[in-house]
């Protein structure tokens, strides 16, 4: 009898080791790691090696704990600034977006599969949330740097939409169990919702504060900090869930509070969380892989894939587009956000709920959800990087890799000790003057430690120890980073020339033919561009003005624009312009342009009238059909291209067939010869 636990340990640890080792291969071939873990689970499971595991409640229990850990860590690593920057768009996505997706999928399932409304919506809810684990993982580990605002939105969305999906799924399960004779109790539904979210959020804030205070105040053995944090987080998760709140929301918010307010033991905590999250991810996906039995899927494969494709190509994009309408995202950004709607463990986990509740079609739900997740991971997970590149959302790296270790100092020191390994081509080696605050306290060279004045100028392979306030670390990184190898496409990305943010916009406009509305006075380029970008400029943000494009090249320490790139071939971006995902601004200005155009035509038509015999001016007003008779030839004012205007408006959404000739959209199709020639080179990042 003693052998059973040992056997269990043997099997699970083997799986764990296997998963970690195969991750090496996954990095090589660029496969989504989580898919790999799921794959191992499947391989070892009933259909493969033959390990039988079909205990749904255990899987659900373990999955919940793992998800709680993952969500806590997601919050832990989300800076307040990031969260507040993306708060509104991501919260809209997490609430309205989830509801919309649920409804859309529900409708399709209802009509295609002929399930009852409740059952269809249940399936919709199961696959409605993006997976925090998968999204975080791909964005962080994927090693691509996406534009700040997009990344923040995706991260916060995926962290905060799980509670909504959990709530919806649970509600629909309850409704199905209650039976069709019980009407949908809207009031009770809303009450439960308010309790879930309200309690969850409030407890998250309070609990997070509690955790932060505990670790800041309590003097503990250093190794115990992570343990008490984990303990408190899970305690809160369980407690709030029992009280009817959303425990997942609680741990997410608590994690964010802890990560931002905590001071004591943070580096250790971060490492611990890192490892734990890996463990949770691997465990969760392995178990869910074990639980599924694809050979029993049978005909459901087809249906599952149809649902998955509908979700990926219609439901999610539509929901994302509607949710993001008011937030001035560019079309490319909206497209990317809808593509990164990865489904993951959460959906599979939620699909266990109907099984546990013994709903008739429970097993089928689980299978469909599993297929959806599999499809999404393969299709979306594998293509995130190329898609981001294609959409021009990958920001070339600012600095090269840095080799450093941050050491924690005892007591609540306001300084940190950072050790840098001096690498070739870093600015300090190539002769950059080292500012006073960056003078090392200690230099280790060839195994000998020496005082900085003994060591003299830093050499390659030195280790330098610098005692510095945390806020300087970012600047230090720049000094000690290896050189960035910007390839041709990166140079094109930032434009041909660099302009000083302090330059007057009036001068720039004169030089490059940018039409300004009104007199800009002494407005600087930085101020002008910041305003046009909605107040929050980020490195890599770009906007077209007339014939040139301005790109944010460098951001200063106070989030002000330092240098602006000027691209003379904005065709580079026009090539990418998508025909959909317009934001509200674009729609408004597009519609306005259309109306203006129509009015012009009417005027043009009216002006022609007097030359026609026996026609009075009176009725001409009320005969819109005349406008078509006026034909584009008679409307020269229409063809004046609106391009040189300041607005970032693109050609209107749906230009009238006749007007299309006049609109500049035709010329936008031109392929820039530059990128055509350059693309012979592989676009990959140079160096390591």
């Amino acid at each position: 009898m003693l052998d059973l636990p040992l056997l269990f340990i043997l099997v699970s640890s083997t799986l764990l080791v296997l998963a970690v080792l195969t991750s090496l291969i996954a990095f090589r071939i660029g496969a989504p790691l989580l898919l790999l873990f799921l794959g191992i689970g499947l391989l070892v499971g009933e259909d493969g090696v033959g390990l039988t595991f079909d205990n749904a409640p255990v899987a659900y229990f373990l999955g919940s704990v793992a998800l709680a850990v993952i969500l806590f860590d997601s919050g832990f690593n989300t800076r307040f600034e990031t969260a507040s920057r993306a708060a509104w768009p991501s919260l809209t996505l997490a609430t309205v977006g989830v509801l919309l997706t649920t409804a859309l999928v529900g409708v399709v399932v209802h009509y295609l599969a002929g399930l009852s409304w409740r059952a269809s919506l249940l399936l919709g809810a199961i696959v409605s949330s993006t997976d925090a684990a998968a999204v975080f993982f791909l964005l962080r580990v994927g090693g691509i740097s996406i534009r700040e605002r997009v990344r923040a939105t995706l991260e916060v969305e995926s962290g905060s939409n799980d509670p909504m999906a959990v709530f919806l799924t649970a509600t629909f399960v309850d409704m199905i169990i209650a039976g069709p004779e019980v009407g949908a109790p809207v009031l009770a539904f809303l009450q439960a919702f308010a309790l879930q979210i309200g309690l969850g959020a409030a407890a998250g804030v309070a609990g997070g504060w509690l955790i932060a205070t505990t670790i800041n105040r309590l003097r503990l053995e250093p190794g115990l900090y992570p343990v008490i944090v984990l303990g408190l987080a899970l305690l809160m998760f369980a407690l709030i869930s029992l009280m009817g709140g959303s425990g997942f929301l609680t741990v997410y918010i608590a994690g964010m509070m802890t990560g931002n307010l905590g001071r004591q033991g943070m580096p250790l905590l971060r490492k611990f969380q890192d490892g734990l999250t890996w463990l949770a991810q691997i465990g969760m996906f392995l178990i869910l892989g074990l639980l599924a039995t694809p050979s029993e899927f049978g005909k459901i494969w087809v249906q599952g894939i149809v649902v998955a494709l509908f979700l990926m190509f219609i439901a999610r994009p539509l929901a994302v587009w509607l949710c993001l309408l008011p937030y001035r995202f560019t079309r490319e950004e909206t497209a990317f956000i809808s593509w990164v709607g990865l489904r993951g463990a959460v959906s599979i986990m939620l699909a266990i709920l109907p099984m546990m509740a013994a709903i008739p079609a429970g097993q089928a739900f689980f299978n469909v959800a599993f297929i959806v997740v599999l499809t999404s991971m393969v299709l979306q997970g594998w293509t995130i990087r190329p898609v981001a590149r294609k959409l021009g959302l990958v920001v070339p790296p600012e600095i090269g890799p840095v080799e450093k270790v941050e050491l924690e100092l005892p007591g609540q020191a306001t300084h940190e000790l950072v050790a840098y390994h001096i690498v070739k081509d870093s600015p300090v080696v190539t002769g950059e003057r080292i500012p006073r605050w960056a003078r090392p306290s200690l230099v280790v060279r060839d195994g000998h430690s020496m005082k900085p004045h003994e060591a003299g100028a830093p050499r390659v392979d030195d280790f330098v120890y610098i005692f510095t306030p945390p806020r300087y670390i970012r600047l230090l990184d720049r000094l000690f980073a290896s050189a960035v190898a910007l390839d041709d496409s990166d140079q094109i990305y930032f434009g041909d020339f660099a302009l000083d943010g302090e330059a007057r916009i009036a001068d720039v406009a004169h030089e490059y033919g940018i039409a300004l509305r009104g007199d800009p006075g002494d407005t600087t380029l930085a101020e002008f561009l910041t305003e046009k970008l909605g107040g929050e400029p980020h490195r890599g943000d770009r906007m077209t003005f007339g014939l040139v494009e301005l790109i944010v090249r460098d951001i200063g320490d106070e989030d002000d624009i330092k240098t602006v790139g000027l691209s003379l071939t904005p065709a580079h971006t026009e090539r990418r312009r998508l025909p959909m995902f317009h934001n509200l601004d674009e729609i408004v200005s597009g519609t306005r342009e259309r109306f203006a155009r129509r009015r012009m035509w009417r005027i043009a038509a009216k002006e022609q009238k007097p030359t026609m015999p026996d026609q009075t001016d009176g009725p001409a007003d009320s005969s819109p059909t005349q406008t078509t008779a006026a034909s584009p030839v008679s409307a020269p004012p229409v063809s004046a291209p609106p391009a040189p205007g300041i607005s970032a408006a693109k050609p209107p959404a749906k230009p009238k067939a006749a007007a299309r000739k006049a609109a500049p959209s035709g010329s936008a199709k031109r392929k820039p010869p530059s990128s055509a020639g350059k693309s012979a080179k592989p676009p990959g990042v140079k160096g390591k």
Binding site: Q491, D496, F497, L499, D500, E511, G513, L568, G677, A680
Partner: protein
């Protein structure tokens, strides 16, 4: 790509001696003034004004100073290779030794920008700067600039 429509062979200085960015611009403005038959002071001022918005050093030792002038009636290009590289506040902080100067009429608009884009693209072409550095005299440089984008350049 062929820049021969932008530049004449007598507007190429194969070896310019200068110690500072300002001096380079001054020397080239003077030469341009002679060739165009107009006061070089005016050209110099406009070029300097443009530099105040941000250096025209586009990196890898290349700079493309440019300006719009009221008094000329067509695009005018000039090329200079410097004797020794000088600091130009370029994007990559590398000293500059290849300078392509472009003057455009006030009314040039899109043509001005297109010409600039062409020059910038050409200068970034792999091997281009090396070829220009390796050419000994004005005729050789002119040949490189006007035959630039033969298919084998890529």
């Amino acid at each position: 790509m062929d820049l021969s429509d932008l530049i004449r062979q007598d507007a190429i200085i194969p070896s310019l001696k200068a110690n500072s960015k300002k001096q380079v611009i001054q020397e080239m403005a003077e030469r341009a003034g002679t060739l165009l038959g107009m006061p070089s002071r005016d050209i110099f001022d406009h070029l300097l004004q443009r530099e105040r918005l941000g250096s025209t050093g586009i990196g890898q030792g290349v700079a493309i100073p440019h300006a719009k002038l009221a008094k000329i009636d067509s695009l005018f290009g000039m090329f200079a290779r410097l004797d020794k590289p000088i600091d130009f506040d370029a994007i990559d902080d590398e000293p500059v030794d290849i300078v392509f100067l472009l003057l455009a009429p006030e009314s040039a608009g899109a043509d001005h920008l297109k010409a600039l884009a062409r020059i910038a693209r050409l200068m970034r072409e792999p091997g281009m700067a090396q070829k220009l550095r390796a050419s000994r005299d004005a005729a050789a440089i002119y040949a490189v600039l006007s035959l630039a984008s033969e298919p084998n350049a890529a």
